[in-house]
Each structure stands twice: as structure tokens, then as C-alpha cells.
């Protein structure tokens, strides 16, 4: 039979059984829509995590006190709080290929300014901190090495803090009290948003780490050191250099520090995400297969139901091949129409979810292709057996069929 005629016959058969066709296609629609939506959500989450990891800085290496093994934190008695500003200085002076370095002392405390109270993160850092974190200064300037040396009472504040305590004023040049010590605000950080862990990065006051340790928190150790390697290729070398140097400085004591690269951080952050995406895609895949089985089921039923029709066609001159193509085309039409509608529904669903609860949603073009190809494939696979069965019928048996 002429292909156009076969196509017309198949279309006719489908349109004359609208309800059955719709229900069959529905399985496919749900399957494909599920795949697209799930993968879009998964991709969106991945993109978000990647953006957050990138927001930590570039080519970043962190050194933390305590030694972490895969089983959790391990630390001998009295070995905690072991990272010192001297360690940071030693790294800065002795390890090559470092672009920037900043110690960090973290604390939370009440601040007072402009007659307003605010509880915030007060972090002691070095002058390289904004550079290492890839964080620009919106107004004013960062404090300098001179401020660090002289335990300067200067501060750079984040957007949230500025909004809270200086709602209507320019904070630069104003005074801020931390534990009753006055600090002069010299700079305002640009807004950064939320961290990988969900905290507000802009809710922060930065002061020289020396001032922090001697004047504010009176700590003797630092919370972490952030280091930026010169290039991506040098990250591993720098990491090794730091580990060697710190081990050497500990003179045979148990290593009580952990050096991590940004890549490792990102890997940890994306791992959970990957698992979730995989799971979602798996569920979606199962529904796609169920859709395919639905089509196979309907096609099988319809071969039995239409045995007489097949008999008539064969008796008046159809070849087995004509019947095979007709049923295959019906199956492929059903599944690819279902697939196309499924894609539309999937994209709409993703957009809806993203607008509804603000998740970023990235519709993957690759997966659209995969779904289209997949649904046509499912159509061929699930249509072939029933179509083959129909084509093999003996005309006389098919005509006798009741």
C-alpha cells in the first residue's frame, strides 16, 4: 500500500476510536511529562548548587582545624582549636602559587549602631578575604594589612546588616559597636545571597582577624583559612604544599587539620543532588515503560478485537507487510503524539513548579530529544509484537474469527 494511504488508514483507525486512543496516549503523556519535569527539577537543583559552590570563590582551598575522616570527625584530647594565625602566615610565605589567603575567625554577637540592635556574624578576616571569596565591595574599601597589624577598629559590613541598622542612611563612616567597642565602617559588601547551606551571606560584619582575636573574641585559634590557588591546575600542588607545611609545623603530632579543595566541596554538595536526580529520573523512566506497556496492551487487544478487520484486509489483497505497517504506524503515531503532548505538559509543569515555589528549573533540550526518540522507540517495540501477530494471521482463520 502507498505509504500515504497506510498513514491515512492508521489515522482513521485512531480517530474513529478517540476514547481508546486518548487513554492509550495518556500513559505516554504522563510518562514523558514525568521524565521532563523530574529531570528539569533535578537539573535546576544542580545548577543552583553549582552556582552556590562557585560563589564560594575560585580555585579555592580551605584549611579547617580538626581531622576529618570519612567516618566523621576524629580528634585527640586537647588537640582542638589548633589552627593559628602563624599557620596562615607560614602558608602565605612558604607555599608557592598562592594568589590570595585569608584567615577567618567566626563569631556571633550583638552589635549596636545608630541606636539599633542586631545579632549578626562577626568575622575576623584578612584583607584578601573579598578577593578570595570573589566578593566585590559595593562602596568604600576593604581594610588593609596596616589595619591588621595595628589591630585597627575598622569594619566592612554586608548588605543585610546595612539594611538593618542603617535603613535610611549611608553606613560608610558611621560607628558600630561590637561588645561595646566602637568600630568605624569603611566599606559595604555587594549582596551575595544565600550560601550552599542556606544561611544569609550578607548578614555579616568583617573586621581584621587580629582585632577580632585580641579585642573582641579573645580567641587564640582561627576557625579556618581560605586560600586561592593561582590557577586551577595548581590546586592539587598547593593543597599538598599546605599539608606538608602544616605537618612539618606540628613536628610529629597527629595531623589536626583538614585541607579541602573547592572541587571536593562541590562534589560533596552535588552528590546528594545527583542521587536525587537519578531517583527522580528512575521513577519517571518507570512511568515511561508503564506507558509503553499500556500501548502494547491496547495494540494487542485491538489486534484481537480487529481480527475480522485484518481478515477482510488480507482476503481482499493486503499483504502481511501492509497489515504490519498499519499497526506499527498506529502504535508509533499514538506514542509519538503522546510524547509530543507529554513534552508540552512536562515543560508547562516545570515552569509551573518553578513559578510556584521558586525552584530554578532548567528544561533539558537533550532530554526532550531523548523523550521523543524514547517514545517513538517504545511505540515501535510495543507495536511490533501485536503488529507481527496481526500480519501472520491466515485470512480464512481471521474471517472465521468470532
Amino acid at each position: 500500500m502507498h505509504f500515504i494511504n497506510t498513514l491515512r488508514v492508521a489515522l482513521r483507525a485512531l480517530s474513529r476510536n478517540t476514547m481508546r486512543s486518548l487513554l492509550t496516549a495518556l500513559g505516554m503523556i504522563i510518562g514523558v511529562a514525568a521524565v521532563i519535569t523530574m529531570v528539569s527539577i533535578g537539573n535546576g537543583a544542580k545548577v543552583q548548587v553549582e552556582a552556590q559552590v562557585a560563589s564560594l570563590g575560585q580555585n579555592l582551598i580551605t584549611v579547617m582545624p580538626g581531622s576529618y575522616s570519612s567516618g566523621g570527625m576524629r580528634g585527640g584530647f586537647g588537640s582542638s582549636a589548633s589552627l593559628t594565625p602563624e599557620d596562615a602566615e607560614a602558608i602565605a610565605n612558604e607555599v608557592p602559587n598562592i594568589d590570595g589567603l585569608s584567615p577567618e575567625v567566626r563569631d556571633r554577637s550583638q552589635i549596636l549602631a545608630n541606636g539599633l540592635n542586631w545579632n549578626t556574624n562577626v568575622n575576623g578576616v584578612g584583607p584578601d578575604y573579598p578577593y578570595v571569596r570573589n566578593w566585590s565591595i559595593a562602596a568604600g574599601a576593604m581594610f588593609t594589612d596596616q589595619d591588621v597589624k595595628s589591630l585597627g577598629k575598622v569594619a566592612v559590613i554586608g548588605k543585610t546588616v546595612a539594611d538593618q541598622v542603617f535603613p535610611n542612611e549611608d553606613p560608610i563612616g558611621q560607628t558600630l559597636r561590637i561588645r561595646n567597642l566602637p568600630f568605624r565602617i569603611i566599606g559595604l559588601l555587594s549582596p551575595k545571597g544565600f550560601s550552599v547551606f542556606g544561611s544569609d551571606e550578607d548578614d555579616v560584619v568583617l573586621i581584621p582577624y587580629t582585632s577580632h582575636m585580641r579585642r573582641v573574641s579573645r580567641r587564640t585559634s582561627i576557625s579556618m583559612i581560605r586560600i586561592q590557588a593561582a590557577t586551577a591546575e595548581k590546586i592539587d600542588a598547593v593543597k599538598l604544599g599546605i599539608e606538608d607545611l602544616l605537618t612539618q609545623r606540628r613536628r610529629g603530632r597527629e595531623p589536626d587539620f583538614t585541607v579541602r579543595t573547592q572541587e571536593e566541596l562541590a562534589a560533596a554538595a552535588t552528590q546528594a543532588n545527583k542521587t536525587m536526580t537519578g531517583l527522580l529520573a528512575g521513577i519517571a523512566g518507570v512511568s515511561l515503560i508503564v506507558g509503553g506497556i499500556g500501548i502494547m496492551n491496547i495494540m494487542l487487544v485491538s489486534v484481537t478485537e480487529r481480527t475480522r478487520e485484518i481478515g477482510i484486509r488480507l482476503a481482499i489483497g493486503a499483504h502481511g507487510k501492509d497489515v504490519l505497517t498499519q499497526f506499527l504506524i498506529e502504535a508509533i503515531l499514538l506514542s509519538s503524539l503522546g510524547g509530543l503532548v507529554g513534552i508540552a505538559v512536562g515543560i508547562a509543569g516545570s515552569q509551573f513548579i518553578s513559578s510556584y515555589n521558586g525552584w530554578p528549573v532548567v528544561v533539558p533540550t537533550l532530554w526532550i530529544g531523548i523523550s521523543v526518540a524514547g517514545s517513538a522507540f517504545v511505540g515501535i517495540i510495543s507495536g511490533f509484537y501485536p503488529a507481527y501477530k496481526a500480519a501472520q494471521l491466515d485470512p480464512i482463520d481471521a474471517l472465521r474469527y468470532e
Partner: protein, 259 residues
């Protein structure tokens, strides 16, 4: 003239059940072009079995069958399908129209296969419409089978059998489900076609109907026991007039009646 159908000592043995059934036990028959044959016989005498073999739907267990000089034993499944498509027209027992498919589309069906498969849809449509006109149903072309009366469905089936201009039209009990008036209508269509030169073989149980044909064959237990020409042939047109007169007299219908 060379016979269109030449069968020599054909047998059909069904092996499907526990005991083999010998349904046709040696039939020899020549059918010349333009013949109009009624095949009669008791139920189970092998009429449908013989028709299926004549129609190349089933192969004889033994014996030879030449259709238009072609030995069908030498043909494969697809060649047989093409032969059915080109040389034969079928009117099946119980209409066998496709449901949810209009009268016109049903008639077009044989043209979608065989040598017409490359024809354009306009050509196919035109030819199918012409065949519906022959059976007087052109005005019902877009009706579905369930919107047609039994006689109308039978006529659609005849139109489908005609659409590929077959040499032989085979009809298994074409009037089996019809009342006597509709039966006469159908026989009228057959007689007209036969006059135009189409060879017709039909199965019937009714002697009245058999008398519209030119030659009667009677089958018993798979053997032809009688083969004779029809002496006083009934003509459908005359019979229809009689029926109309009788109806008018009985006032069964009012005024002009529709087909």
C-alpha cells in the same frame, strides 16, 4: 473461450479436529466467462469450503485449480493476495464490512492494495463512488455500516467486490440475512452485473433465489450431484414490479417509496 475457472478433482480435508473431515471429495468443474452459477446443497455439504478454495483463500488438499490459466498451487502468500485483489471480488457471508468506516471507505478498501496501491486518493474515490452508483447507494456514501439497513450493507459489500473490476465475483449466501424483497433487489444488481459480463458464483439455500442464476450446482457430502442450466429463469425487474403491485394493493406503503 477458455474457462476462467478450471478445477480438476479437488479435495479438502480438515485435519484440525480429532477426526479428519473430508469436506470436499473430488470436484471437477469448468466455469466459462459470463456464467452465473448458484451453488446449493444441505448444510455441511461443503459449499463454503469449495467457495473458499475458488476464492484462493484456502488451498485444496489435493487436485489442481487454474484461475484464468494460472495454477494457484505455484503461488506464494503474497502472489495469492495479489491474485485475489485483481481477479476476484468477494461478497462475504454476513457482509463483513469494516465498522466505524463509511460506505465509501469500505468500497475503497481493495484499491488500497494490489496493483492500485500507487493510485491517487482522488482516482480511488472516483472509482469507489462509481461502484456505489452501480448498486444504487451513491447518496449514502458517508454513512457508517450501523446506519445502513441489511440490504444496503449487502449492496455496499457488493460494491466493494466490484471496485477492482474482477473477472469473477464470489458471493457466499448474499441473501442469507435478507427479507424476500431485499433479496430480489440484490439479485437484480447481480443480474445487471452479469449482463455486463462479470462471472458470478454464489451460494444459496433458497431455490427461488437460485432461479435468478443461469446454472445450478447441487453439492452433497462434498460431491457435485447435479449440474444443470436454469430453465425458467426469474428476472429481478419483473419480480420487483410484482412486489410493488402487491404492496400498492395492500397499501403497505404510501405513495412513492424510497430505495
Amino acid at each position: 473461450m477458455q474457462p476462467v475457472v478450471q478445477i480438476k478433482d479437488i479435495h479438502k480435508i480438515y485435519e484440525s479436529g480429532e477426526v479428519p473431515v473430508h469436506a470436499v471429495r473430488g470436484v471437477t468443474l469448468d466455469i466459462a466467462p459470463g456464467e452465473f452459477i448458484a451453488l446449493m446443497g444441505a448444510s455441511g455439504s461443503g459449499k463454503s469450503t469449495l467457495m473458499n478454495m475458488l476464492g484462493c483463500l484456502d488451498r485444496p488438499t489435493k487436485g489442481t485449480y487454474l484461475l484464468d490459466g494460472i495454477d494457484i498451487d505455484k503461488l506464494d502468500r503474497n502472489e495469492l493476495a495479489d491474485l485475489r485483489n485483481q481477479k476476484l471480488g468477494f461478497v462475504f457471508q454476513g457482509f463483513n464490512l469494516l465498522a466505524r468506516t463509511t460506505a465509501l471507505e469500505n468500497v475503497e478498501l481493495p484499491m488500497l492494495y494490489g496493483r492500485h496501491r500507487r493510485a491517487s486518493s482522488d482516482q480511488i474515490r472516483e472509482r469507489a463512488m462509481h461502484c456505489l452508483e452501480i448498486v444504487g447507494l451513491a447518496n449514502r456514501f458517508d454513512h457508517f455500516p450501523n446506519q445502513l439497513s441489511g440490504g444496503q450493507q449487502q449492496r455496499v459489500a457488493i460494491a466493494r467486490g466490484l471496485v477492482n473490476s474482477p473477472q469473477v465475483l464470489l458471493a457466499d449466501e448474499p441473501t442469507g440475512n435478507l427479507d424476500s424483497k431485499t433479496s430480489v433487489e440484490v439479485m437484480g444488481v447481480f443480474q445487471k452485473l452479469n449482463e455486463q459480463g462479470i462471472t458470478i458464483v454464489m451460494v444459496t439455500h433458497e431455490f427461488d433465489i437460485a432461479r435468478y442464476c443461469r446454472r445450478n450446482l447441487i453439492l452433497r457430502d462434498g460431491i457435485v450431484v447435479r449440474d444443470e442450466p436454469v430453465k425458467e429463469r426469474s428476472m429481478a425487474e419483473k419480480e420487483m414490479d410484482k412486489v410493488r403491485l402487491a404492496e400498492a394493493a395492500a397499501k403497505l406503503t404510501s405513495g412513492a417509496h424510497a430505495a
